[in-house]
């Protein structure tokens, strides 16, 4: 086809059309290139609970593949060894103590369970010896407190939504209960979730030919963990309570896949917060049967739950690949805190302690980032990083400007991981949950328990397992 331009005006018009088309094309490419982000958070998954972190009794190829396709961190810290506060920091990019959150939000659980606990606490200890390890404050007047993420905090979902992203939250929320604290009020367009700290994986009545329940009478969480779905433990889709009849780990994967399918043409941000492997321990029988190399039921159930989690993560990653989005999707995976040693199902070895302690077993978690084309595959990063970095990293890769009216405690990790910056992302890490506090500066870590007047000093580089309390060598001088 040949055009003959007869005058200057026609030439100018044609030039303008060409330029306009070219500009629109460039804009379209820029839009296509905006990466999707999937943030996957596991619940109480310990440092020694994945094959890639040394567990020889379990197969977790899908989660581990995030490391073979990207970066695996050996020193990924969270900001609290309990779920709620840790998650507040992940989603705001700020130490949660900056906005007064260092304890778990009060969940609204089944009134009969709560009443039974209050009335029969002393006698219940006989059937649930784990309750001896719990000193509940039944008399806190919850009406006196607003227990959730404050309104003026900005979640990463809110930020990305303003930058044109479709946002979804699938899984455990734990950032507050009731009106004012719903995911839809924190920047999420879509949500399929439960509000609280835990819920059953399978609702009553449990088909015991398909699922195995493992009770933990030695755990302080046992009575609440098996409460029927009510209030904070109910499953919700948006503002509505729904009946989920599946195994929750797979239901969450399925809802995540549907979200990706619906939004594959838009840039999307999906927060996928599995509640596995938090108690109550419930596992599909086929996953229990897969754990051949373990004899005891407790570990077979626990490891089976983690293998189910791994398959769920695998299904979501497969969806990303099948939708042709793999090269343009950043996937981040981490646990919210260390493994719960009080369940007796995990040890966090070689680390000491676990959930509900400020030893590294409670604070160092499995942590991966996959960003094809930007981050090298199969890379192990041994310098300490923080879950606080997730916010700033996501903001950077999505070209989203951080608000300048507040302090962000994390950094964009990409320049450190690509070698553009050769310094450390962080020198100092802080932890505080009331009277239990800790600080790591360089190789050194101090752990203080003001209630029991305990103090520990470790060189965590030479002593990964925090076995040698150096302050004990000179006890009088260290007090």
């Amino acid at each position: 086809m040949c055009f003959v331009f007869k005058n200057k005006a026609t030439i100018q018009f044609a030039f303008a059309v060409i330029m306009c088309t070219a500009f629109m094309h460039v804009q379209a490419i820029a839009q296509v290139k905006k990466p999707n982000v999937i943030l996957i958070v596991a619940d109480d998954l310990g440092y020694s609970d994945l094959a890639s972190y040394g567990n020889k009794l379990i197969q977790t190829p899908n989660i581990d593949a995030l490391g073979t396709d990207g970066f695996r961190f050996t020193e990924g810290y969270v900001t609290a060894p309990i779920c709620g506060p840790s998650r507040e920091a992940i989603l705001t990019g700020r130490y949660q103590q900056r906005f007064g959150v260092e304890f778990m939000p009060y969940d609204h659980i089944d009134p009969r369970t709560m009443s039974n606990l209050r009335s029969n606490y002393t006698s219940l200890k006989k059937t649930t010896p784990g309750l001896k390890m719990l000193k509940p404050n039944f008399f806190v007047d919850r009406k006196d407190f607003k227990d959730g993420i404050p309104e003026n905090e900005i979640t990463i979902a809110e930020l990305l939504k303003k930058n044109g992203y479709i946002t979804g939250l699938v899984g455990k929320w734990n950032l507050g209960n009731g009106d004012g604290y719903h995911p839809s009020q924190s920047g999420y367009d879509y949500s399929y979730y439960f509000e609280g700290a835990l819920t059953r994986y399978v609702d009553d009545p449990v088909d015991t030919t398909r699922y195995i329940n493992q009770h933990l009478p030695w755990s302080f969480s046992e009575p609440v963990a098996w409460a029927p779905r009510y209030g904070s433990t109910e499953i919700r889709e948006g503002d509505s309570v729904v009946k989920d009849t599946g195994y929750l780990t797979f239901s969450f994967a399925s809802k995540a896949i549907d979200f990706i399918d619906r939004n594959k043409s838009s840039p999307f941000f999906l927060t996928l917060t599995f509640n596995a492997p938090h108690d109550p321990f419930q596992v599909p029988k086929e996953y229990f049967d897969r754990i051949h190399s373990v004899n005891d039921t407790l570990h077979r159930v626990y490891f089976g739950m983690i293998e189910a989690l791994d398959d769920a993560v695998g299904a979501v990653i497969k969806k990303v690949k099948d939708a042709g989005l793999e090269d343009n999707t950043v996937i981040i995976f981490l646990s919210d805190n260390g493994g719960a040693t009080y369940t007796r199902a995990t040890t966090n070895a070689p680390l000491r302690g676990g959930k509900c302690t400020h030893f590294d077993g409670g604070l160092l978690v499995p942590f991966f980032i996959k960003y094809p084309g930007v981050l090298k595959a199969n890379t192990i990063y041994n310098e300490p990083v923080s879950s606080l970095d997730i916010f700033s990293t996501i903001a950077a890769v999505t070209n989203t400007t951080l608000p300048d009216d507040r302090v962000y405690d994390g950094v964009n990790l990409i320049p450190y991981l690509t070698g553009k910056k050769d310094s450390l992302p962080h020198n100092v890490f802080y932890w505080r949950n009331g009277y239990s506090q800790a600080i790591r500066n360089g190789d050194w870590k101090l752990y203080i328990d003001k209630k029991s007047n305990l103090l520990y000093l470790f060189n965590v580089v030479n002593d990964l397992g925090e076995h040698h309390d150096l302050s004990k060598q000179y006890p009088e001088k260290s007090k």
Binding site: P81, I82, Y95, Q97, R98, F99, G100, V101, E102, F103, M104, P105, Y106, K132, M133, L134, K135, P136, N137, V140, D144, F145, K146, D147, F220, T341, Y342, R352, G353, G354, C356, T357, F359, V407, V428, Y430, R432, N433, G434, Y435, S436, Q437, A438, I439, N441, W444, L446, I448, D449, K451, S452, L454, L455, L457, L470, S471, Q473, Y474, K477, S478
Partner: protein, 50 residues
């Protein structure tokens, strides 16, 4: 003796740094801990506020 002094210095330094951080960066918790739990860490029992 040198090692002992270094340990003491390190304890003091970290304590001060943590206190400073608390004073300047953190605010009072917005609600009380709902429970204290006692955790067995290699045979040592340690309290933790949740």
């Amino acid at each position: 003796m040198i090692f002992q002094n270094n340990i003491l210095k390190k304890v003091n330094e970290l304590q001060k740094q943590l206190e400073q951080w608390e004073k300047t960066q953190f605010i009072k918790p917005r609600w009380k801990s709902g429970a204290n739990v006692l955790i067995d860490v290699d045979g040592e029992m340690i309290w933790f506020p949740t």
